[in-house]
Symmetry: C2
Subunit: 128 residues, 2 copies
């Protein structure tokens, strides 16, 4: 798996999320994927994303920084969106918030196998 491959695969994965193309998610995410140490599998991963989009209809993933060293990808994602009600336990209530997610992925066989994500909750609190 070359670095070029993982750059391209990751950008295609983000495009997939922004298209809400859940049927294609399995091209990028492994069947046995774990998220923050929880083995949720592809179906759980899809459910998590579908819930995110229900809670945040204008959710859009924007890559601010992308660092690739196979089999790892690290990405700083930027969000500028309006969660409808609560988000991360915060009562956002439709207000627009801008925040980052710093996230690490391990790839296996060209697909995401592990995700370690931290969302900047403090930045959201500061905007409420």
């Amino acid at each position: 798996m070359s670095e070029l491959d993982l750059h391209t695969i990751y950008r295609d994965y983000i495009d997939c999320l922004n298209r809400r193309d859940w049927a294609s998610l399995g091209q990028f995410v492994g069947d046995d994927v774990s998220h923050n140490g929880r083995p949720i599998g592809l179906s759980g991963y899809r459910e998590m994303l579908e819930k995110d989009v229900r809670d945040i209809p204008d959710l859009r993933f924007q890559i601010d920084l992308l660092v690739v060293e196979p089999p790892f990808v690290a990405s700083r994602l930027r969000f500028d969106c309006s969660p409808r009600s609560t988000f991360l336990g915060l009562d956002v209530g439709g207000r627009r918030v801008v925040f980052a997610e710093n996230v690490f992925y391990t790839f296996r066989g060209g697909k995401i196998a592990n995700v370690w994500s931290v969302i900047d909750k403090g930045a959201i609190e500061a905007q409420l």
Copy 2:
């Protein structure tokens, strides 16, 4: 700047922090460093670290994941420590907490020029 160099430099930087060797910090951190968009400079960076160590005497930086693609370094750091009073606005009060920081660095001339850090505040809240 090769990848090997940045791996080594970064590990040496973390060793410097764990030794509290503030006099050597300028070997790793640029004079004009920015932290989360704030241009704090080397002196501000050192003050930030000195305050962290006052607030958390048993603070120790442990690298869980290290992803290098020059000029970028991405690191997932693990902390297992006991902040003395408040931390990130949370009343930790000496309790032991375990949490991660997902952090991106841009290097320039072999030194840290920009830092984009997110600490897992939600994980700490869940332990209080």
